[in-house]
């Protein structure tokens, strides 16, 4: 019993001595010293080497990205320009083609008009000639009719046994023909 109490007491003392190592002030100078050394080491490494390097890398990346974007923008502009030039050339070609078509059409029309006019003139000349011939033929026919009529009338009168003066028969036939 006594020994048990003793050991318990000893344990209690030990626990007290250990307690929270966080509150053992005898180790404070040691920890603080090494902490200061550590923090200075880390600060030195960071401020001299690591942070400038990482900052430079990040800035460089940012620069590269914005450069690439600017280049892409420029290329896009150039592509748009090329497209515009192409479209302009296309429109020019189309206009030229239309001009040529119109010109050709006009030429053909002029030729055609000339040919038509010439043909019309020819037709007019020919029909005039034909009319003249018809008129001649008609005149000839009329003459023959009066001749035949006079001869027939003279024959008829002769057949009936009359004698007629040639002048009177002719005048009578002409008068009948005209009437």
């Amino acid at each position: 019993m006594a020994t048990e109490l003793e050991t318990a007491e000893a344990a209690g003392h030990a626990a007290e001595a250990v307690g929270m190592p966080q509150l053992d002030f005898s180790t404070y100078p040691n920890q603080i010293f090494w902490l200061v050394v550590t923090l200075f080491a880390i600060y030195f490494v960071l401020s001299r080497i690591a942070l400038p390097r990482i900052g430079a890398v990040l800035a460089e990346r940012q620069g590269t990205i914005s450069n690439d974007i600017a280049a892409a923008e420029e290329l896009k502009l150039r592509a748009q320009e090329a497209e515009r030039a192409y479209e302009k050339a296309l429109a020019d070609a189309r206009a030229e083609a239309q001009r040529i078509v119109a010109e050709t059409k006009a030429e053909i029309k002029a030729d055609l008009d000339a040919a038509t006019a010439k043909a019309d003139a020819e037709i007019a000349a020919r029909s005039a000639e034909a009319e003249k011939q018809i008129a001649e033929i008609r005149a000839g026919a009329l003459e023959s009719v009066s001749e035949v009529a006079r001869a027939t009338a003279a024959d008829v009168i002769a057949a009936m046994g009359f004698r007629a003066e040639s002048g009177a028969v002719e005048a009578a036939v002409d008068g009948k023909l005209k009437g």
Binding site: E4, T7, A8, A10, A11, A14, A15, V18, G19, M20, P21, Q22, L23, D24, S26, T27, Y28, P29, N30, Q31, I32, F33, W34, L35, V36, V37, T38, L39, A41, I42, Y43, V45, L46, S47, I49, A50, L51, R53, I54, G55, A56, V57, L58, E60, R61, T64
Partner: protein, 250 residues
């Protein structure tokens, strides 16, 4: 061992892991003695160099994996300083980055089983918090002279309330380093102690140890989160204090 007999079996010494011990041999811990503190802080420095110096050695436009982690850390803290402290706070970015990187590595290295967590010690966190407190206060007085005191004189409040608010503001100002340091140290210590408790249960329960082991897994995941969040909190509070020093006129 003796205490185990006394309490009848289960006595889990959760605090043993926080002991500061000399690396070589036994004896008193002088301020210059290389201890486990030295070892784990040294490992933190090595990790910092590996990540931020060796990792970025390529200076690649298209970064490697380690380089993108380093760039993420840089961008994370840089943006935090810029957003919280303002553009003129960026001058102090390397200091805040140093603190953040040290705390992150100390916290995460402390999660390795058997490791010593340097940030679970009040001596360490209080030194950093006091450095921030003194640095920020001195900076405020250097930049603004006596008008830095207008930080405590809240012109937005009714005139009658201002003296009372000023007292409260002064008190809260001086409590800052306390909360700043104990928050980090407490989180680190508590998490590790809880894990140790569950590990002790696992040792005693035999087959039933499944439950404490699962619990340890869950707590370990939580501690992983806490390790990062506490470093973030420490850094962002530093930024807030810095903003107060740079722009004391609310």
């Amino acid at each position: 061992m003796a205490s185990e007999d006394a309490t009848g079996g289960v006595n889990i010494d959760t605090m043993h892991q926080f002991m500061v011990r000399p690396l070589f041999g036994e004896g008193a811990v002088h301020w210059y003695t290389p201890t486990n503190v030295t070892l784990w802080m040294g490992i933190a420095v090595v990790c910092t160099v590996l990540l931020l110096v060796m990792g970025t050695r390529g200076r690649a436009i298209v970064p490697s994996r380690i380089q993108s982690v380093a760039e993420l850390a840089y961008g994370f803290v840089y943006k935090m300083v810029e957003d919280v402290s303002g553009r003129d706070g960026l001058k102090y970015f390397p200091y805040i980055m140093s603190l953040f990187i040290f705390i992150v590595f100390a916290n995460f290295l402390g999660l390795i089983p058997g490791a010593f967590t340097t940030t679970s010690h009040l001596a360490v966190t209080a030194t950093m918090a006091l450095a921030v407190f003194i640095g920020v206060t001195v900076l405020g007085f250097v930049k603004h002279g006596a008008s830095f005191l207008s930080l405590f004189w809240i012109t937005a409040a009714p005139l009658a309330l201002r003296p009372i608010l000023a007292v409260i503001e002064v008190i809260s100002y001086f409590v800052r380093p306390v909360s700043h340091s104990i928050r980090l140290m407490g989180n680190m210590m508590a998490g590790h102690a809880v894990m140790k408790v569950f590990a002790g249960f696992a040792g005693v329960l035999g087959v039933g140890a499944v439950f404490p082991v699962v619990a340890i897994g869950a707590i370990y995941a939580l501690e992983f989160l806490v390790a990062f969040i506490q470093a973030y909190v420490f850094a962002i509070l530093t930024c807030v204090y810095l903003r107060d020093a740079l722009h004391p006129h609310h």
